[in-house]
Symmetry: C3
Subunit: 461 residues, 3 copies
């Protein structure tokens, strides 16, 4: 600044660099971290505290006063105390009248109280303007400056100007405010940091359960059966061979489960003849986790691809290859090319590649930044048309792969079918029903129902 | 709430939970769906309708009145009727004066009317504040709650406060409003849901056409020629071998087509000596779809990678391998390592891997969320510097791959070159011209022209 | 419009389509480009210039006047001149009083002046409302219409209404305004377009240096040693074999370097007994580039995967395979399956696949649009829990891969260990220390310290 003294003159007393004082009630960990950060960003900070003796934990440029005196010094008061102590604020109601109170509190459980902390604060002090903010930011992240996770700060409040003042502070701290509307949104904002992938729980538990079952099934048929009846120790199949049987099966079944609820919904609507009655609860929940189911299926499909591509590098594979070739050489003959086999092998590989390619495309489209740039018509086209095409290709891939073994009795160890046969049940049934639903005589009433027509209006009362 | 009765007392009469009444004109499908959703979110809803007899399709907590009475009850009126019936509103002009009218209509075709529906509404009722919103949301999605696609609601309007009121409702419904500015944006917003990947049409049709041509070309040379002259039935090449010839060719050509318009633009600017005249229309359109061309090229390159990696798993490949080895064994000799061959094979694989790696990097950078976090200088660096490097590596990959066959006459079946030779024409020509353009004697005037200098100013009038 | 003449009537004189005049000071390249674009978007444009003779470079629909007359015609004046000429504006202070001045200037270097250009302008003309905008958009992009890079326009300013007016213009030009708060943000906005991946510099230089070192190390051991002592020319190893040794080593080391600073931070905090003292500067910087280190590691890991999968396609690999099989055939015996070898080969492949899978998951989570949809708890879960699991799997992959050669003296050429042994030092040390830190007797005080507890409060003064 000293290079340019004339400009400093022009700046005058009310320089725009001077920021308004912020008051923080509470000298706990988050209050101190936020104070540090505010001082770094050029805000004068004053703490309101019961004991005004200066603790050395408090940033040294901050003032510490009693609650009432501190509040008088600032237009914005950040309430960094826990909800159960909020009632100490009621005697201060007069001092806090018209001030902006920022509620930054979090709870320990989802929906712990009937109303959100911010709404409770607003009821205690109806004369103040309560804004909810900062609860999604951790003290540790503020302190260390390593804001790796989301820089988004959800802000809500009933007073637009108060909200704007808080959002300016958020921006000044290098964070991104996101206006979530009125104080009613506070409940949602308070629940947000307590969640751990709530939408993923069901798909992940389901797939772990199914995968464990199929793993044991394969273990029995491929390792134990072989050991007992053929006296071959193929225990090393546990590492790659069996996972590479389970992954495609899981991928196909979960992929079919993405489209199954849509089929059920269509059947229910056709049966009821109206769209104005709610689906059963299980169907609603199932429909809401379709994206997650699809992404888990994509993960299994990707593992299947890598496990398959790695095959030629395995010691077992090179041993099997060389065994075959050596026996040919020792028998002094060269086997001719089996054209049927070449066709089958190439087709199921090609079908799998194309199906996986479309599946990855679906996955990319479900990235938030991509799906936000896509309109409803485009999203439907990708998720429905391309999705069914991918499912058809993947099912065909499995059918062609297993083709020749289906009816061969030697393939049934202990009279149990191989798991790829089990994996075909859901997708094949789904595709048959979907094929029926496409027929005009079924599709037309369904479309009408979805546009609001009702077969028997009295049902919908 | 009943756990905490003292708080309810404190809430008083004008609780913030009480939301303002919303009026909906029209009891069609979208009007009903929106009404349902509004009631769920705590808004009192009143329908304005010609016939006020209560239909059982209308949400049962909603009131149904005549248009004028309904409008008087609310500050916001959602017009859920089609544009051709808007003139029934003109007699209501006095009642609607100063009210916020939300136009949610869509058209059946792009640019169906000279002005947007919202602007038309605003002209009909100049005393009301028209806001365009909700047209990108489908009734079905609102009804079923499965808002898989974008939750963005584009909002535009000339009155800032009216827009803010509508945006608050949007947020309350769990959607994300996006302010698109004044009512002029309504045309664009109304066109938005009618589009089906408009930018992708040309690249996809072009690549389908080219791919079909190359597929038939390969089919003739690899299957039909072999069948006629060598009496070998390689029809199974259709599944993997031929696609794996077409994909890399398509990827390389399309990748070159991404950078070709930039070369044309530079030549045109050099020739004209100014940047202030518009490019020909075809060049403008071409430049605008470069990102899409590049992503289609990346898709073909990815398919090529997977098709190639899958090679050792093919029955044909293992047959060919074992045939070669068995013949060596039967001839009782071991072939020594061909160093030239080892060098060639490893180099073209390495070049391909590095080129593909950079290509994927380009693809990731073009994800909306990534490119939004990158400034102009960084974007130019990635798309131009890294992009050309990737193109050079991919071209070198193809050159080294074909290296030894280029001049061998036996490679030319029916006097036709193999398609990888065809694929090299565009990228090689492009790279040569680009190399010339980098020379200072060419680059310097070009840079000057791009900074606004003109060789012959009178041309630009 | 002519289809609908009655509407045009209704439009009247003050049609909303009529946009306010915008004045541009300066007829340089950017001023002209912006003027063109504004006229295209329906804004009347008037240029303020010293010489009012009409240059043919200026868009022909624009007016050109002296500065004072031009400024009087508009409420918004875009200052398209360089900072060093700003003082020509001081005599115009009276004309510009109350007007919105848009500062679009950029500097040539980061932090070139003590205060930002926009703040300087605001100091020169305290009566005007200065808004910073458009500096991130290039004239070339505006002119050509190919806004491939970010459409985001950062806007900041102290006057909310002035900012809103500028943001409306930004939207009208088809760009997305992003409110960055008060004029204090101008410094950051002016620095933004000058940056070239500032966070990536250290990770990329570090990895280039390390990779070059490991490449030469491998070259010495694998090519030169073999050439001297075994008289084998394996120079073609440069293309794939050596890169495929360097890439996994780089990936593992860089991956460990992502988690190392966290370990250092924990040790420092335990030693100091407080979290309220700053970490050393090198540690702070290291922590801030962990994401970039991780993504570079992921890039090396991906290259390793592709290089490995490509192995069976190499001429060298097929020569080695056939040599082995032919020698078996000539010796008239078939080697039995080595079960230990099969176990080892399958386990290290499976460990590598799972480790890479989790690594890719981490990479996807660090995409901006994904990490914005994830809360702090979820982000910590992925980056910490899943991250450590991935690191453990990758380390185990390397350990099992090298397993049998560790103690074999023949593996040590020139008494130097193979590079995969070097690569294990950092991750193994890291995992051991992390294991110690998990013990309750260490973890409990650490957690307390991170919650704000201090062992010896007087230290923190």
């Amino acid at each position: 600044m000293n290079k340019n003294s004339s400009n400093i003159m022009a700046l005058g007393p009310n320089t725009p660099n001077k920021r308004e004082t912020v008051c923080i009630f509470g000298t706990g960990d988050f209050g101190r971290a936020l104070g540090h950060k505010l001082i770094q960003s050029g805000y004068p900070v004053v703490y309101g505290s019961r004991s005004t003796q200066i603790s050395n934990l408090i940033p040294k440029d901050a003032e510490v006063l009693g609650h009432a005196e501190a509040a008088q010094k600032a237009a914005i008061i950040i309430i960094a105390v826990q909800r159960q102590h909020y009632n100490f604020l009621t005697p201060l109601a007069e001092v806090l009248r018209g001030k902006v109170l920022v509620d930054i509190s979090n709870n320990l459980k989802l929906n712990q109280y009937p109303e959100s902390n911010a709404e409770y604060l607003s009821q205690l002090l109806p004369g103040s303007k309560v804004v909810k903010a900062f609860n999604t930011v951790s003290a540790w992240a503020l302190q260390s400056g390593t804001l790796d996770a989301s820089r988004q700060v959800f802000v809500c409040g009933d007073d637009v100007e108060a909200k704007q003042m808080v959002m300016n502070i958020v921006r000044a701290l290098g964070l991104t405010p996101l206006d979530k509307g009125s104080l009613l949104a506070a409940q949602e904002i308070e629940n947000y940091p307590l969640q751990l992938f709530p939408m993923w729980k069901f798909p992940i538990f389901l797939s772990f359960g199914l995968a464990a079952f199929f793993f044991l099934y394969c273990l029995a048929l491929d390792v134990i059966y072989t050991y007992i009846y053929e006296n071959n120790n193929f225990s090393f199949f546990i590492a790659i061979t069996i996972p590479n049987r389970v992954c495609p099966v899981m991928a196909l079944i979960l992929f079919a489960l993405v489209y199954l609820p849509g089929i059920f919904a269509a059947i229910i609507q056709l049966y009821r003849g109206t769209k104005y009655r709610r689906f059963p609860d299980w169907l609603d929940k199932w429909m809401l986790c379709r994206k997650q189911l699809g992404l888990v299926a994509l993960a299994f499909a990707s593992l299947h691809v890598v496990f398959t591509l790695v095959t030629p590098l395995r010691a077992f594979a090179s041993w099997r290859t060389s065994k075959g070739i050596v026996s040919q050489a020792l028998n002094n003959k060269t086997e001719p090319l089996d054209h049927t086999n070449a066709w089958l092998s190439d087709s199921y590989l090609a079908l799998g590649i194309l199906g996986y390619f479309l599946f990855v495309l679906l996955g990319i489209t479900s990235l938030p930044s991509v799906s936000n740039n896509v309109n409803w018509r485009e999203f439907r086209f990708v998720q429905s048309k391309l999705g069914y095409l991918a499912l058809i290709l993947c099912t065909a891939h499995t059918l062609v792969y297993g083709g020749k073994w289906f009816l061969s009795p030697s393939a049934y160890k202990w009279y149990l079918p191989d798991i790829y046969i089990l994996s075909l049940i859901v997708p094949c049934a789904l595709l048959v029903v979907k094929f029926v639903l496409i027929f005009p005589c079924v599709d037309k009433p369904l479309t009408q129902i979805r546009q609001g027509w009702e077969r028997n209006p009295k049902y919908s009362e």
